[in-house]
Symmetry: C2
């Protein structure tokens, strides 16, 4: 089993938040695909943050992809010259106003979608934080924060109230890492 050979790339969208490319590829069997579309979005970090009392810090905000208000973990795009860990601490402060962690653990990175997507996200576990300072939203953000027990979170993952699959995968990585 071998990788495909890239023969040509044409960018159809080349914006800061999204790149879409039409790639001409040669398969190992000689077949040529003229239009395999690939996607790229900036890398982001998933923030699994727990308070000193052992509650998860969660957010509620409108998501224009689904058109719905969604229960999620905090998350954010990693700025230039910033590590995933630094972005996680910054976003946790900006979106939810929590800080002063007792520990921070990097749990890994995932491709957003291996099929045709070139971006990835990182998973960071931040434990033992406390409420601190103020939130600071972008102009297009409106985010509510809440605290939730692990038991309640799993209930919401089972009944579908929590339905962000990329975030669920990151949380499951944390579950596996705890054993």
């Amino acid at each position: 089993m071998k990788p495909w050979k890239l023969l040509d790339t044409e960018y159809l969208v080349n914006a800061p938040w999204l790149k879409v490319a039409k790639e001409k590829c040669e398969l190992p069997n000689g077949k040529v695909i003229d239009d395999f579309y690939t996607l790229w979005q900036p890398d982001w970090v998933l923030i699994l943050a727990r308070t000193k009392e052992g509650k998860w810090i969660m957010t509620e905000q409108y998501r224009h992809g689904t058109g719905k208000i969604a229960l999620e973990f905090p998350a954010g795009i990693i700025d230039k010259n910033e590590t995933a860990e630094q972005a996680a601490l910054r976003e946790l402060q900006e979106e939810c106003a929590y800080g002063f962690p007792q520990s921070l653990t990097y749990l890994g990175a995932y491709p957003v979608n291996p099929d045709r997507h070139r971006g990835k996200f990182h998973v960071v576990f931040i434990d033992g934080v406390v409420r601190a300072g103020k939130t600071s939203f972008d102009e297009s953000e409106d985010i509510e924060s809440l605290e939730m027990s692990d038991e309640e979170l799993r209930k919401k993952m089972l009944d579908g109230t929590f339905s962000h699959p990329l975030q669920m995968a990151g949380y499951f990585k944390w579950v596996l890492s705890q054993k």
Copy 2:
């Protein structure tokens, strides 16, 4: 917290496998975003299939998004006039040559990515299958099948050998549903 108002849509890519739209949106605070990009890919089904002996049926194939050979569950696009369950049984036969299940359970659907993606995937658990018939690949497919114990699968999810986050979320939904 309210949804955004859609003012205008312009399609930048309108292919059978991918649609990319530039949407002009008005936010609840009055701010107008001229270029919020949204994506659409056809709905697909994740197939969590177990043999009579309790082994997961897994695949290995090249993924051009990541440019790597990937260990994954079988999965496939749902054809027109087909349910997720029907697609799961068809793809399990075509990709891996297993059939004759003892039971089939629909576990739910997820948005591929709530941020700017309009497509979704379904999760189907097919238990007690046996090897049957032959595989039948598309011209661009080259797929190896293998069987794996649940313990080994979790090890590979922890060490990153298995790294498809959407599939990991579907598997975790199954884990939660077993309790």
